[in-house]
Amino acid sequence: MKFVTAILKPFKLDDVREALSDVGISGITVTEVKGFGRQKGHTELYRGAEYVVDFLPKVKLEVAVTDEQLDMVLEAISKTANTGKIGDGKIFVTNLEQVIRIRTGETGADAL
């Protein structure tokens, strides 16, 4: 199993969620986050004061998948979240050792 973490532009979240549903993903976790990458921040001006805002708002999407689902999921995310402009985000993939559904005690792929 794999654990996929994607950093996305907030307005792309709905499209990505829909695309993931279409490829059979039944659950995701989303967090509002801030960060910076190549896009960097922006400058805000308040009267005489100038502030550089380094951290931009993004959403972090987390989804656990089976090895077979991985490619479909990666394609779904990268296709729908792509605008071609700087700041589209990143996808991180890590190995996932175990999953447990708390209610039933199921483990592994059955718990996904």
Binding site: E44, L45, Y46, R47, G48, A49, Y51, V53
Partner: protein, 460 residues
Amino acid sequence: MTKFATSLALVVLLGYAGMAAAEAPVPNKGDTAWMIVATLLVIMMTLPGLALFYGGMVRAKNMLSILMQCFVIFSMMAVLWALYGYSVAFTEGNAFFGGLDKAFLKGVTPDSIAATFSKGVVIPEYVYIAFQLTFACITPALIVGAFAERVKFAAVLFFMAIWFTFSYLPIAHMVWFWAGPDAYTDAKAAEAAGATAGFLFQKGALDFAGGTVVHINAGIAGLVGCLMIGKRIGFGKESMAPHSVTMTMIGASLLWVGWFGFNAGSNLEANGAAAMVFLNTLLATAAATLSWTAAEWIARGKPSMLGAASGAVAGLVAITPACGWAGPMGSIVLGLLVGVVCFWSVTKLKNMLGYDDSLDVFGVHGVGGIIGALGTAIVASPALGGTGVYDYVANGFAEYSMGTQFIAQAWGVGTAIVWSGVVSFIAYKIVDLTIGLRVSDEVERQGLDITEHGETAYHI
């Protein structure tokens, strides 16, 4: 004989009736109703107008400290006004301080009357006291913006009590106290009446609704304050962006609406002059909003909401002294000018001089007040669409000399700067030596809301 006696009795009677009428004019209900409404509008300027305008500009951790300072300063000044403030500002004394004849509002009844700017027209004195109270309340509250986010609540209140007594009251007396139009019957009577008026009134300085008394006075107190108290921790390094420009926009809008009470109410009567003041206030503010926005758009690339709100307030400040004598076109020009100059003063002048006037009390109220006070001499000129100055002896508008008037205005500006500067310096020193002005670094870091007031503005 009988006929003669009857005629004599008639003459005496008529004379007496005439005298009685001259002695006790009755307030007009329309004027009275308007002044009550105007008073309400000025109350709204501080609570919640100014409080939100300022509150939106501080960081969220200091929001309640600003709201609370405005709220309690207003309440404290209201009580002090009734105890001795009204008497010191608006009874006869010397040219700088009034007397204590009406301390505790002694002798004032529902039948007491106050003069307006027309002969034989009066309003109830209670309304005049309440109206002037609202000015005495908002002026100290304006100052808190200069040292926002770093001063002890107790120190703020103590300072305001001293400053109100020794700066607001005498300057109000100097600028506004006079015997009223009915005393100006002929040249000799006018001279006698003039001698009892306040120092700047005698100099001929014009200040319709408080450019000198309110804005320069508060602006200078703010400047002295932020110079003496020092910068906020992290000033120029950390982000001190306004936590809610939305609140600031709401506050500025409430100020704008309330200001019609402030300016048009200062006419003391509901008549054509009040209507002119109303329109002038509307136009100067709109013009200043446009010019600040344009200046910011050109100089910095983007027109900001904070800029538009600041421009509106700058326009309101500048038209305040001038609104009773300017024409509508003069008001627009004054507004356009002050929007650009105040934009420059808060973006460039402040950085050049390096002081931390947190919410630009000096940059907007001080600078805008000075421009308005001096500009009054120009826009009041009948040649430029103004009304000129009324001569109560000749019962008509006097010949207008812009140069003479400009010098009179400069007297007003100079006196207010020096007087408020000196009183503020001494008052801050006294407070610093007794209570201490500044909170500890730790308190400042944590924010004044939790440390000074035990509350948090937002639970989200």
